[in-house]
Amino acid sequence: MLQLSCPWCGPRDETEYHYGGQAHVPYPEDPSALTDEEWAEYLFFRDNTKGPFAERWAHSAGCRRWFNVVRDTRTYQVLAVYTNSDPRPAVRFGAEAGGPR
């Protein structure tokens, strides 16, 4: 089981959270101006990164707030936790080596 550290509540088991997929996917500024292809891209296409991946989690059994995590999808190691108002932090490539699995 993953252990994630909520920015507001601290470390909790994965079972307290809900997953929200890729982070930093903004709603289109003018949806009605999009072509069908662009709308499909927004609606259905997400990065499916093998490696460090910025993703959303909600602490649904706690403070119920959303936040972002950078997690390595190969090792599942959590590399960074940050709030929605923060930019994606740079994670050192290879930082995951030897980390908890």
Binding site: M1, L2, Y19, E37, A40, F44, N48, K50, T73, R74
Partner: protein
């Protein structure tokens, strides 16, 4: 003095080095990849084919699934391809001259709520209109088919009935792969293991070959059949796929005498269980929520499966867990596969099967081979192209396909 070891039994396929060029390359040596190569050779006479596998043959999801074969899907497009596959399964042991223990022991899909009952009866009617065998069973009839299911009304989620597809069943997954591999090899297909595709050779928007850990190989046409790693390959080829890779876990018990005569699936309690020929109870459920390429998931997901199994089968109370494992499944937005052309010319994709690809092995291979050989989709996979995400013509099997994904 120790006796010398016996000779190795005859190999089922050769272990060739890659040639410089092939008419067709299939990337991925799992069940779907092998079936694709088999039908390229058998149906289309294209035998100058290589199957490139980054690990060992059928060591990915083909080795990790729960071997359930059924075709009782709700929508016409799904019923067509899964029923086609089931009809192939019924005669493949003879065609491939290999008894892979396909056992048509039937599948029960249990209903535990009024909503389940309505969904199930609707699906039975849809199945019958598509000539898929399906019937609705009351709880006492469920107990006749599978006596170890707890149909008592005195449980949290009582069994209110079930759909039953008698022609569904299970097969020995490894033997399926070996049967296809032997048949491919006999027709001249090169099965090349330990050969990872690391990039694509392109001439403008047209693929002309692949870069691999064993050198560059040219190809007239290339098919990607890489399940959980489809996105990784697509990115190298320069396009995106609407799939997300998740861990999907399954588990087996120790060996027990035969107690479970059929396959039981429950969406609501959420587990599916059968008993393998050797005697292990085999069970699985849904994916881990997060994206992952690690071929393992979180233990609470396994605990949930076992709790569900115990709820349905009190007899399992003293069974011991022997082994758990995970595979990487590529889940599409509508829980239906993607089979067809890609934005790159001569490059085709078969992916997005999510949690349910094994049952479709011969159908997927048949359709993919047709698409690669002719450059156009087969009637079976025409609705399953990438373009449906732009047109909106989704085949929404989420919650409709008799399993929660």
């Amino acid at each position: 003095m120790a006796k010398p070891l016996p000779e190795h039994p005859a190999w089922l396929w050769r272990d060739p080095d890659p040639k410089a060029s092939y008419d067709a390359i299939v990337v991925g040596g799992g069940g779907h990849g092998l079936a694709t190569a088999y039908y390229l050779a058998k149906n289309h006479g294209i035998t100058n084919v290589a199957v490139l596998e980054k690990g060992w043959l059928a060591g990915g999801n083909m080795a990790r699934n729960t071997t359930i074969i059924r075709s009782n899907y709700l929508w016409d497009e799904s019923a067509a391809i899964y029923e086609f596959a089931l009809r192939q399964w019924e005669q493949l042991p003879a065609e491939l001259d290999y008894d892979f223990l396909f056992s048509q022991r039937g599948v029960l899909n249990l209903a535990h709520t009024l909503q389940d009952v309505r969904e199930a009866t609707r699906r039975v009617n849809a199945n019958r209109l598509n000539r898929v065998d399906a019937e609705w069973l009351e709880p006492d009839e469920v107990a006749k088919i599978c006596p170890i299911v707890n149909v008592s009304p005195d449980v949290r989620y009582p069994v209110l009935g079930a759909t039953f597809q008698p022609r569904a069943g299970i097969a020995k997954h490894d033997h399926v792969a070996w049967a296809f591999a032997r048949a491919c090899d006999a027709m001249g297909v090169d099965i090349i293991q330990n050969c990872e595709v690391t990039g694509f050779l392109k001439d403008g928007d047209r693929v002309t070959g692949v870069e691999t850990t064993r050198g560059n190989i040219s190809a007239g046409t290339v098919g990607l059949v890489a399940a959980g790693h489809s996105s990784v390959l697509a990115e190298k080829a320069g396009f995106r796929l609407p799939v997300q890779s998740h861990p999907l876990q399954a588990l087996v018990s120790e060996l027990y005498e035969p107690v479970h005569p059929t396959v039981v699936m429950s969406n609501h309690v959420h587990v599916y269980v059968s008993q393998a020929h050797k005697g292990e109870l085999v069970m699985g459920a849904g994916v881990d929520a997060y994206n992952g390429y690690g071929q393992r998931g979180s233990f609470h997901v396994i605990e949930h499966q076992m709790a569900a199994a115990l709820e349905l089968f009190p007899i399992f109370g003293r069974a011991h867990l022997l082994r758990t494992w995970g595979g990487i499944v590529d889940v599409s937005p509508d829980a239906s596969p993607i089979i067809g052309p890609t934005p790159v010319e001569n490059l085709y994709i078969n992916c997005g099967w999510g949690t349910g690809g094994f049952k479709a092995t011969p159908g997927a291979g048949w359709a993919m081979a047709h698409t690669m050989a002719t450059g156009a989709p087969h009637e079976l996979n025409r609705p399953f192209g990438l373009e449906r995400f732009v047109t909106g013509a989704l085949i929404d099997e989420h919650g409709a396909a008799a399993v929660a994904h």
